[in-house]
């Protein structure tokens, strides 16, 4: 435990720049999204935007489209925008592949010749993969709250605390899941570049599988394999409650990746 905490402190020190940047950018982005949404609200642009949408698109997208084209929809955009998701996945993959970097640079030789059990390396990474998404999601919630406090126009329909909490919880579970499996890849790798590339490409493929499945029936049979299948932000926007089963699947899957990482790392040559 002592070794894990020492290593966690060391890793947090090394990642402090990335963490500060990600939390700062995400909080600021949420504040600015509220400002943008307020502008649209004040100029009554949501109705005009909806009017531009062709009927066939309305038919395909259904009510989800209109839930997005609303004040709460724009405010919550940061929790499910593909670019934001990609950036956050990149962050957790970078954190998860730290063991591979430590093997590659032989820094781990210096650590593990001390009386530190190998499981401390994986436990450190698990703690990091729970902590970093938490910090970012909390920063996003704080940014959303601050933005609403400062910029919400009077009379606008505000996103409820339950909606924001549900989106944040679903996003956090998704990041934990991706982090867990990235850690499993890193535990078997000798180079961070290789581990990061495999984890990154796999995440992209899984995203695309889920993306295709939403519009193309044949891909639907594989959609259950994708963690993005259990990230239902648009459904939450339309007012449906967060499905606990989705959270459980993501967290159990992520935990499975972390356990696998521990087993692989304990058995391998370094």
């Amino acid at each position: 435990m002592h070794g894990t905490l020492t290593l966690l402190r060391h890793s947090l020190g090394r990642l402090r720049g990335l963490t500060a940047a990600m939390t700062g950018v995400m909080a600021l982005f949420q504040v600015l999204l509220v400002r943008v949404a307020a502008t649209f609200q004040e100029s009554a642009s949501f109705g005009k935007l909806a009017a531009f949408v062709p009927p066939f698109v309305r038919q395909m997208a259904g009510e989800a489209l209109f839930s997005f084209m609303s004040f709460p929809g724009i405010v919550c955009l940061g929790y499910f925008h593909p670019m934001i998701i990609a950036a956050l996945c990149g962050m957790v993959i970078a954190a998860a592949t730290e063991p591979a970097a430590e093997i590659e640079t032989r820094f781990l030789d210096a650590i593990l010749v001390r009386p530190v059990p190998r499981r401390a390396i994986v436990a450190r990474s698990v703690a990091l993969l729970l902590l970093l998404p938490t910090l970012v999601v909390v920063a996003m919630i704080a940014g959303t709250s601050a933005g609403l406090h400062w910029f919400a126009p009077p009379g606008a329909q505000l996103p409820g605390a339950r909606l924001i909490a549900s989106l944040a919880a679903n996003l956090w579970a998704l990041l934990v899941c991706i982090g867990g499996w990235s850690l499993a890849v890193a535990a078997a790798a000798r180079r961070r570049g290789a581990a990061g590339a495999i984890a990154g490409v796999a995440t992209l493929v899984l995203f695309l599988v889920d993306y295709l499945a939403r519009a193309w029936k044949p891909a639907d049979t594989l959609a259950w394999l994708s963690p993005f299948h259990y990230f239902r932000a648009v459904e939450l926007l339309t007012g449906r409650p967060l499905a606990l089963s989705n959270l459980i699947v993501l967290l159990v899957s992520g935990a499975g990746g972390m356990v696998l990482a521990g087993v692989v790392f304990a058995r391998r040559d370094l």
Binding site: A110, V113, P115, P117, D269
Partner: protein, 313 residues
């Protein structure tokens, strides 16, 4: 009740005990059925060409690499099943010092200290830093600014700073200037005087001959030689240089056994002598010898033979 007629002999367990250790990468054996004991309080030189299996053996001792078969023990602790206890008694200097370049020397020492079971004694650390001329300013600099020698000195400080009973040193003087090499030799003598065991690999054979009590030569993953340094030296031929006051001819009679003329000029011979010098001296009494010089037997003359041919010696 102990038997009064029996003699009780307290034999200290080996500091390192390796039993039938084999490590294969695919079909290639890196270490092949290696059995070796390193005694407490000795400095053991672990020698071999690149790829002989030295680093693999050391990494198995440190539980960084898992053996295919066999076992290794450090001060009685199994290196794998009791690896944490084994590593608690080891100070390790890696061959390649690899810390993050943006860490300072002080951060490295503090991190490695915090990962130990017992904290480093500040006085010992300060003495080591002074011995290796590492100033507080040096420790405040980032490692990317360190030279190879400075990294090696930092590695030596972190290996010795916990005063461990066993030191495993991979090329301890590589990259060091002659003064720092002397500092390492003094430190090794000091720790041996305090009963510490040192297991070191080195390619610098004169250094091995100077500091080690025993050596083991690894070749192709197997142990080709284990012996005391003095025993190994006694296997080496002595080089004898004879200068004559007048021109001499090579003797027509056979040379004494073990004597071989390696270079002959009219007034100077160089000879290689295995065994006693007496027969050669007897032969020379009939010649106008002006000077006789005998070189000390060199460790490398034997060890290099084992590097080339395991049947040597």
């Amino acid at each position: 009740m102990p038997n009064s007629s029996a003699t009780t002999v307290n034999v200290a367990p080996p500091a390192i005990s390796i039993r039938g250790l084999t490590k294969r990468y695919g079909r290639t054996p890196a270490v092949d059925n290696l059995t070796l004991d390193v005694l407490p309080g000795e400095i053991f030189g672990f020698l071999g060409l690149n790829g002989a299996g030295k680093t693999t053996t050391i990494r198995i001792l440190l539980d960084l690499v898992r053996p295919t078969s066999g076992a290794a023990f450090v001060l009685g602790h199994h290196c794998r099943s009791d690896g944490r206890a084994a590593r608690a008694v080891i100070g390790y200097l890696p061959g390649e010092i690899a810390y993050y370049g943006d860490m300072t020397g002080r951060q490295v020492l503090d991190l490695l200290d915090r990962l130990g079971i017992e904290r480093v004694k500040p006085q010992l650390q300060r003495r080591l830093l002074e011995r290796f001329s590492l100033t507080p300013e040096d420790l405040g600099r980032r490692l990317r600014e360190y030279s190879t020698g400075m990294k090696r000195k930092l590695g030596l400080v972190q290996a010795f700073q916990a005063d461990p009973p066993l030191l495993i040193l991979d090329e301890p003087t590589e990259g060091l200037d002659p003064l720092m090499q002397e500092a390492v030799y003094d430190l090794l003598a000091e720790v041996r005087g305090r009963g510490r065991t040192v297991f070191m690999s080195s390619h610098v054979l004169p250094e091995v001959g100077r500091v080690c009590d025993r050596i083991g030569v690894l070749r192709g993953g197997t142990l080709a030689l284990v012996a005391h340094v003095d025993e190994v030296r006694s296997l080496a031929p002595r080089r004898v240089h004879v200068t004559f006051a007048a021109d001499v001819e090579r003797p027509h009679a056979a040379w004494p056994p073990g004597v071989e003329l390696t270079d002959a000029a009219t007034r100077r011979w160089s000879l290689s002598v295995r065994g006693p010098l007496g027969p050669l001296v007897h032969l020379l009494t009939a010649l106008p010898v002006a000077d006789l010089h005998v070189d000390e037997p060199r460790l490398e003359d034997v060890v290099l033979g084992y590097y080339r041919d395991p049947q040597a010696g």
